[in-house]
Symmetry: C2
């Protein structure tokens, strides 16, 4: 059901999709969404939570993959870029339909997003502390590093056959330049 909803929302937008569309796409009866979710918004919230948690796990796993600040940041930007290309549809829905969530649900997701920021800030600080990175604006640089990865969902199209590993590698190399890795 969640997969069907992601496909439907990605193609027609949240506002252009009915719960009936989602149910039919999932091969279920028209009212089947309501067996599991109170509303279309609750379905979007479930997708947003799942997407953000999976992306956060990916970022934290990469953080833990190395003790060296440069290798660690490289791994994080590689993995996070790769995640956004591998999960482009899910990520697009999660990123672009935030406005459709209720106020309370939106606040949950915004809180989750701060955790991405904190992990990235931690990685940048590690490198500064070790004397390897030269960064004045840690918060702003962390946001820019996340931007570089997340914006892939806007333009990356797997159907066009671009090499996602090469793109993730380039982003990771650019990230080291951005933090003034010496």
């Amino acid at each position: 059901m969640l997969d069907a909803a992601v496909d439907a929302f990605a193609e027609r937008g949240f506002g252009g999709t009915s719960t009936r569309d989602v149910a039919v796409r999932a091969g279920r009866s028209p009212a089947a969404v309501y067996v599991h979710y109170d509303s279309k918004e609750a379905l979007l919230y479930a997708i947003s939570l799942e997407g953000h948690m999976a992306a956060l796990d990916c970022l934290k796993l990469a953080y833990a993959s190395s003790e060296d600040p440069a290798a660690r940041l490289h791994a994080m930007v590689f993995a996070f870029s790769d995640w956004h290309m591998e999960n482009a549809r899910l990520a697009r829905v999660v990123q672009y339909e935030l406005h459709a969530l209720s106020k309370v649900h939106r606040a949950d997701i915004v809180s989750l997003r701060r955790r991405f920021h904190r992990v990235m800030v931690g990685a940048v600080r590690d490198g500064i502390r070790a004397g390897q990175f030269q960064v004045d604006d840690v918060n702003g640089t962390a946001r820019a590093l996340l931007s570089l990865c997340i914006d892939l969902v806007r333009w990356f199209d797997p159907a066009r056959g671009r090499n996602s590993r090469a793109i993730a590698q380039l982003n990771a190399d650019l990230a080291l330049r951005m933090v003034g890795d010496v």
Copy 2:
């Protein structure tokens, strides 16, 4: 009418907005959209064209502002970042509702987007030719530079009082690092 449409699409998404909503928001009669546009899709196309043309003008103007490759790239990333923060609502609609355009209209917008890429590629090549930039993947780096600016529309919220000039300045400084400005 275009302003009202941008506001409506930004708040509820293209699929969640009717032409009646747009007309009423513009203080017009419910059918007033059809005086000027054949369909809701034609209205979105007009907004997309206007938004892309304005952003492209901004980028080209900044390109022409200096002869020095580093100063030029810095000016471009500053101006393009600033444009996306100043026009966050318009840019969000233009970026996120591309899927709602007809095939022909979408192809027009995709062609326009290639022009942004060409301008940025030109700026990177200028710096390489002058021996100032060190870039292996010119196309990929140009895309990453544009990403850094465009992704601002996803998270920048003028209501939160962040300093947009400081963000544009940071992005421009990061851009010079990304191209290995020496």
